[in-house]
């Protein structure tokens, strides 16, 4: 029995040594590249080692230098999760917050650059097909821009949260306090999205009478079957019987546009 325990202990130590050696080798190779500013090579070298918070953190650091924010954020975050030491954790949280703030700055700059392109697209002229193409192009850019806006908001919020995490572990960290203040200031300066339109619409739907709701259901079914003219007629007839259908005026107007276009020859 004693012999077994000794073998097990030796085995564990040997395994531990092998793990540590592999980590050190990856660290050494990676650091050599990093010191020569070869960040892609450094990242690859750190990636050859086993799962270890030091290697993960350093991968995040190399990726930070390469401005590949998503990977940097993922690695700093994983490093913070795996670190047992609060000081190491604080360091990963700090860099994670920093990467998030830089990501927010990058997204914000890109969003402003996109604004120029979007505003420059003028939908005018006689060629309808060309105008449709331009509209689709502008709409696609606008959606990308909205995505960037969302990224700025989430990156700032998460960045602030990570500086708080740093301060919980190392309350004397003045850099983290300073960056937290910056993040909070930037969050406060962000434009607020006007909300409430969606819920108002829902409320309006709720105000439809039971009869109007049934009529709307029928119109919806007809639209599903592409019977736009019939759907419009159902609603127009329904409006004569139930005034609450007036709240669906927009729906009717849209059907009017479709049926008008359908008559074109």
């Amino acid at each position: 029995m004693r012999g077994l325990i000794v073998i097990a202990v030796i085995g564990l130590v040997a395994c531990g040594d092998a793990h540590e050696r592999a980590v050190e080798t990856a660290l050494r190779t990676g650091n050599a590249h990093y010191d020569r500013q070869r960040f892609t090579a450094a990242d690859s070298a750190y990636a050859t080692g086993p799962l270890d918070p030091r290697l993960l953190h350093n991968r995040g650091d190399a990726e930070y230098r390469l401005a590949t924010w998503d990977s940097a954020v993922a690695h700093f975050s994983h490093a913070a999760e795996l670190s047992a030491n609060p000081i190491d954790q604080a360091r990963s949280y700090y860099d994670l917050g920093d990467a998030r703030l830089r990501q927010a700055h990058w997204a914000d700059s890109l969003a402003h650059a996109l604004d120029g392109t979007i505003n420059g697209i003028r939908i005018e002229g006689d060629d309808i097909a060309k105008k449709v193409e331009l509209f689709v192009q502008r709409d696609s850019l606008q959606r990308q821009r909205n995505g960037l806006d969302h990224l700025v908001d989430s990156a700032l919020t998460e960045g602030a949260e990570q500086f708080k995490n740093t301060l919980r572990r190392t309350p004397q960290d003045e850099d983290a306090r300073h960056n937290l203040a910056i993040a909070q200031r930037l969050i406060a300066a962000r434009p607020k999205n006007p909300g409430g339109n969606g819920s108002n619409k829902k409320d309006e739907k709720k105000e439809l009478s039971e009869r109007a709701k049934l009529i709307m259901k029928r119109a919806d079914e007809l639209v599903e079957e592409h019977k736009f003219q019939e759907a419009l007629e159902v609603l127009e007839q329904g409006l004569k019987q139930d005034a609450t259908l007036q709240k669906e005026k927009e729906y009717m107007d849209k059907l009017g546009v479709v049926t008008k276009a359908a008559r074109a020859t």
Partner: protein, 172 residues
Amino acid sequence: MNALRTFLTLLVAGSCTLVARAQMASADDYFNRAGKQYVKEDKAAALRTLDQGLRQYPGDPRLLKFAEELLKDEQQKQKQQQQQQQQEQQQKEKEQQQQQQQQEQEKQQREQEQQAEEKEQDPEQMKAQPGRIAPQDARRILDALERNEKDVQAKVRERLRPTRRVPVQKDW
């Protein structure tokens, strides 16, 4: 035998064409899909479908008419946006002009006050006295302070960017 082979080849080719035509959406399909999207979803989705449709059926009158109708209010919106942007630009320019005028007025006023002060002092007093600053020195100090203020502002701007500690201790 050859005739049979030709017949089979034609049969296969014909059925392939039929399958391909059946898979290809017609102009009606595009119109219907766009109509449903416009009524139930949004205009942008409908215009995306119309764009696809018009690429395949460039002269289709229903697709063109539908697109024209949907783009009508878009042009109005664009005009409104242009007007708004112009107004904002004009407002900005106006504000800048006002600021410049105000700054110039303040500068002139300062200069006049300074000249008046200098006139009041006799030549003897123009020389530096212990505990008092000669006007030319005061000017120099004020300029230096102004420069310093600009430096401080630059530093503040610099600090608004998140600071970063010395590179990570890679070996820990």
